[in-house]
C-alpha cells in the first residue's frame, strides 16, 4: 500500500469533488443577487424585520434602524407561516425544554470540576463527584444533552419555515426526544457509578447508545417527511447544513461504537475522527444553519452573497471530516495521518472566511440593529466566535504551535470557544427568537434577557482569557526541560481560579435563562400582548 499516493489522491479527489459540486449547484456563481437567498422571505417581506424576542418598542426601533420596509408582506404567505410555526411548536418545545434542563446539569457539573482542579481535597468522599467522573458528566451533558437538543429543536422549528410547509411527523420527533433523553439519563448515571466505555466523547456505554441511535433517527424522520412536501423550489442553505448534519451524525456514532472492531492506536485515530467530527459535522453545521436563517430574517435583508454560503458548505463538508488527526500530533500514530489532518485543518480557513465575510457584509451598515434585537446580539457574537475559534483551531494544528498547546488547558479553552462561544450563544439567540412563536407569548421580562447576555458574555471572556493563559504558561513550562513538572502545575493555579469565577458567572447566566424559560412556559409574569405572531405587521403598517 503506497500511503503517500493514496493520500495525494484523496486530497485531489476532495478538491475536484468540491469544484464539481459547486459548479453543479450554481449556474450564475458570481451573481451577487441570487434568488436562493430570498427563499426565507415571503413575497414583499424583504426590508421588514422579524424579532419576536424584542418588545414592541424594540421592534419599532429595530425597524427604524433598518431601511424602511418596501410594502406589505403577502398576507396568505404569512398565514402559511403561522401554520408552519404551529406545526413545529410541540416537538420544538419538548426538545428545547430538555436542552435547558441539560444546560443546567452541565453547568453545575462543569463548575464543580473547575473548582476541583484548584481545590483537590474538596468533596473527595463521593466517587461520583470525583474530578474524573463529574468532568465527564459535564462533557456528556453538553455533548449529548444541551447542544444536540437545542440544535435539533431549533432545526425542527426552522424546517417548515424554510420549506414553506407544515412539519410532517412531529409525533416521531417527540417520542424520539423522549427515548434519547432516557438514554442520556441512563448514560450519565452509568458514568457516575463508573460504567464507562473509556474513550473521550464516547464514554456512554454502547448498549445505552442504542437509544441514541433509535431516538436520533426518530427525531430525523420529520426532516425526510417534510422535505417530500416542500413548497419551495430551492432548498435554502440552512437546509443543506441541517440535512447533511442529520445524516452525518448517525454514521459517526455507529462506526465509533461498532463493538470488537477497533484496537490500540487505530482506535485512537477513530476516537478523534469521531470527536472532532461531532463538532465539525454535527454541532457546527446545525449552528451555521441557524445563523444563516436568523441573521437575515431579523434584519429583513437577504444574505449578502448566497453563493459564498454554498461554497462554504461544500468546503466544510470536504475539509472538516479529516481534521481529527491533529489531536494526535506527536503521538504513536502514522505520520501521514497527522500531516493530512494538519493540511485539512489549514484548508478549513476557506469555508470560515467565506462565512465570516458573508456575515460581515450582510450586517455592514446595520450594526445598530444589535442594540434592539436580543436574538441578533447572541447570534452575531456567536458567529464571530465561530470565526475566532476556527482560525485559532487551524493554527493550533500546526506542529510548532501544537508542541506548546497540546496536553494543556489551552485546548480546553479552545474547545469552549467553539462549543460555547459559537454553538451555545447562537442557540441562545435562536431560542429567544423561536420561543415567542412556539408558545404564542412574549418573553415576560426583557431585563432578564439583558442580564443573561451580559453574565455569559463577561463570564465567558474571563473564562477564556484565564484558561488560555493557564494553558500557555503550562505548555511553555512543560517543554522547558530545566523546569520540574510541578512548575507546569503551579503556574496554572491562579488562572484555574479565574476560570472558576468565569464559569460561575456563566452558570448564573444560565440560571437566569432557565428561570425565564420556565416562567414563559408556565405563562407567568406580565403579559404585554396576546399572540405575538402577527403583531409587527399591525404596528409598523
Amino acid at each position: 500500500m503506497d500511503i503517500p499516493l493514496l493520500l495525494l489522491s484523496s486530497f485531489i479527489i476532495a478538491v475536484t469533488g468540491l469544484f464539481f459540486f459547486i459548479w453543479s449547484l450554481r449556474k450564475g456563481l458570481l451573481d451577487p443577487d441570487a434568488a436562493g437567498a430570498k427563499v426565507i422571505f415571503s413575497l414583499g417581506e424583504i426590508g421588514r424585520i422579524e424579532e419576536p424576542a424584542a418588545t414592541g418598542a424594540g421592534q419599532r426601533e429595530l425597524q427604524r434602524a433598518m431601511t424602511a420596509s418596501h410594502g406589505e408582506p403577502d398576507a396568505t404567505e404569512l398565514q402559511a407561516r403561522l401554520a408552519a410555526d404551529a406545526s413545529s411548536a410541540r416537538p420544538a418545545f419538548v426538545l428545547l425544554g430538555f436542552a435547558v434542563f441539560w444546560l443546567l446539569v452541565a453547568s453545575l457539573a462543569g463548575l464543580t470540576s473547575s473548582i476541583k482542579l484548584h481545590e483537590p481535597d474538596w468533596l473527595t468522599q463521593y466517587a461520583w463527584l470525583s474530578f474524573g467522573r463529574i468532568r465527564t458528566i459535564h462533557l456528556n451533558a453538553v455533548a449529548y444533552g444541551w447542544a444536540p437538543m437545542a440544535a435539533l429543536g431549533v432545526a425542527l422549528w426552522m424546517l417548515p419555515r424554510l420549506l414553506k410547509t407544515t412539519l410532517e411527523g412531529a409525533r416521531f420527533a417527540v417520542w424520539g426526544a423522549i427515548l434519547w433523553n432516557i438514554g442520556l439519563a441512563i448514560g450519565v448515571g452509568c458514568i457516575a457509578v463508573g460504567i464507562n466505555d473509556g474513550m473521550e466523547w464516547l464514554e456512554i456505554p454502547g448498549q445505552v447508545g442504542v437509544l441514541f441511535a433509535v431516538g436520533g433517527a426518530m427525531i430525523g424522520l420529520p426532516l425526510v417527511f417534510t422535505l417530500r412536501r416542500r413548497k419551495v423550489e430551492h432548498l435554502y442553505v440552512s437546509v443543506w447544513y441541517m440535512g447533511a448534519a442529520l445524516f452525518w451524525f448517525p454514521v459517526l456514532y455507529i462506526v465509533a461504537k461498532l463493538p470488537n472492531l477497533h484496537f490500540g492506536v487505530e482506535q485512537a485515530t477513530m476516537n478523534w475522527w469521531f470527536g472532532h467530527n461531532v463538532l465539525g459535522l454535527f454541532y457546527t453545521p446545525l449552528s451555521l444553519a441557524a445563523v444563516y436563517y436568523f441573521l437575515p430574517k431579523v434584519i429583513g435583508r437577504p444574505i449578502q452573497s448566497y453563493n459564498l454560503s454554498l461554497i462554504g458548505f461544500w468546503c466544510l463538508a470536504f475539509f472538516y471530516g479529516q481534521v481529527g488527526g491533529h489531536h494526535l500530533v506527536g503521538g504513536p500514530v502514522p505520520e501521514w495521518l497527522v500531516t493530512l489532518s494538519i493540511v485539512q485543518s489549514i484548508m478549513m480557513i476557506v469555508p470560515v472566511v467565506a462565512f465570516s465575510l458573508n456575515q460581515h457584509l450582510t450586517m455592514r451598515g446595520h450594526f445598530a440593529a444589535l442594540k434592539h434585537s436580543p436574538t441578533l446580539r447572541f447570534v452575531v457574537l456567536g458567529g464571530m466566535m465561530y470565526t475566532l475559534s476556527s482560525i485559532q483551531g487551524s493554527f493550533e494544528a500546526l506542529r510548532s504551535v501544537n508542541t506548546i498547546t497540546h496536553f494543556t488547558h489551552f485546548t480546553v479553552a479552545h474547545a469552549h470557544l467553539g462549543l460555547y462561544g459559537f454553538v451555545t450563544l447562537v442557540m441562545f439567540g435562536a431560542i429567544y427568537f423561536a420561543m415567542p412563536r412556539i408558545v404564542s407569548r412574549e418573553w415576560p421580562y426583557p431585563k432578564l434577557i439583558a442580564a443573561h447576555f451580559w453574565l455569559v458574555a463577561i463570564g465567558f471572556a474571563i473564562y477564556f482569557v484565564s484558561l488560555t493563559t493557564a494553558g500557555l504558561l503550562q505548555g511553555y513550562a512543560m517543554v522547558d526541560a530545566s523546569k520540574p513538572f510541578m512548575e507546569s502545575v503551579r503556574v496554572t493555579l491562579p488562572w484555574l481560579e479565574g476560570r472558576s469565577i468565569g464559569g460561575a458567572l456563566m452558570t448564573l447566566g444560565h440560571l437566569v435563562f432557565a428561570t425565564h424559560f420556565v416562567l414563559m412556559a408556565l405563562a407567568r409574569g406580565p403579559k404585554r400582548s396576546g399572540a405575538a405572531i402577527l403583531r409587527p405587521l399591525a404596528r409598523t403598517a
Partner: protein, 201 residues
C-alpha cells in the same frame, strides 16, 4: 428531488473520504502491527486495574504517549522513549489521553515501582507531592481501628495518617496499583513507525 439527492450523496461522499483516511486506512495499516518485543499481555488483576483507571477517569489528566525528544523533553522527565503503535497491542480501549494536568504514565511502573508509594499517593497525593492538584481517592480505602489478617495496610507519612486507625486499601485500589506498576515500556522499540515502515507493506 434533484437537490436532495445531490445534498445527501455529496454529504455521504465527503464523510466516506474522511472515514477512509482516518479510520479505514489506519485500520489496514496497523492491523498486522505486532506487539513490541518485550511487551507482555495484561494479567487478570492488571486488566481489572485498567478498568478502574477508566472508571475513575484517570485518562482526563494523564496521557500515555511520550513524545519524541526532538519535539519535547519527555525523555528528560523520565517518561520514556517515544512510544510506537506496537506498545499498545493489548490496549482496548486505547488510553492515549489528551491532557497532561498530571505527568505521562506510560512508564509509571518503571519510574515509581513501589506499590506502597502508589497506594499512599492515591489516598493523599499531597502527602508525597506537595502542590499536586490530583484528587485524593479516599473512597478507594477504608479506615479501620486495626487491620484484619490479609488487609493491605497503607503506609502513610504520620501527619497524613488518620488519628486512631489504619488505612486499608480496597481490592479496587490494589488492582489499580497493579495496573500502574504494569505500565513499563522501557524495552527498546524496534523501529519508529514511519510512512515507509516495514509494517505498512
Amino acid at each position: 428531488m434533484e437537490n436532495e439527492i445531490k445534498l445527501i450523496s455529496g454529504a455521504m461522499v465527503t464523510l466516506a473520504i474522511a472515514t477512509a483516511s482516518l479510520v479505514v486506512l489506519p485500520y489496514l495499516q496497523l492491523r498486522h502491527e505486532p506487539p513490541t518485543p518485550g511487551l507482555k499481555p495484561y494479567t487478570e488483576v492488571q486488566l481489572r486495574g485498567r478498568q478502574e483507571y477508566i472508571r475513575q477517569g484517570c485518562v482526563y489528566c494523564h496521557s500515555q504517549q511520550p513524545r519524541d525528544p526532538s519535539q519535547a523533553p519527555d525523555d528528560k522527565r523520565g517518561w520514556g522513549r517515544p512510544s510506537v503503535a506496537g506498545d499498545y497491542y493489548y490496549d482496548r480501549p486505547h488510553l492515549l489521553g489528551t491532557m497532561r494536568t498530571g505527568p505521562d504514565l506510560l512508564n509509571i511502573g518503571a519510574r515509581q515501582p513501589s506499590a506502597d508509594w502508589q497506594l499512599g499517593h492515591l489516598y493523599q497525593p499531597r502527602a508525597y507531592t506537595p502542590g499536586s492538584i490530583m484528587p485524593a481517592y479516599p473512597f478507594l480505602f477504608e479506615v479501620k481501628k486495626e487491620a484484619a489478617p490479609g488487609d493491605k495496610v497503607v503506609a502513610l507519612p504520620p501527619q497524613f495518617a488518620p488519628a486512631g486507625g489504619v488505612v486499608v486499601a480496597t481490592q479496587e485500589a490494589q488492582d489499580l496499583v497493579a495496573y500502574l506498576l504494569s505500565l513499563d515500556r522501557t524495552f527498546p522499540a524496534l523501529a519508529p513507525l514511519a510512512d515507509a515502515s516495514p509494517a505498512s507493506k
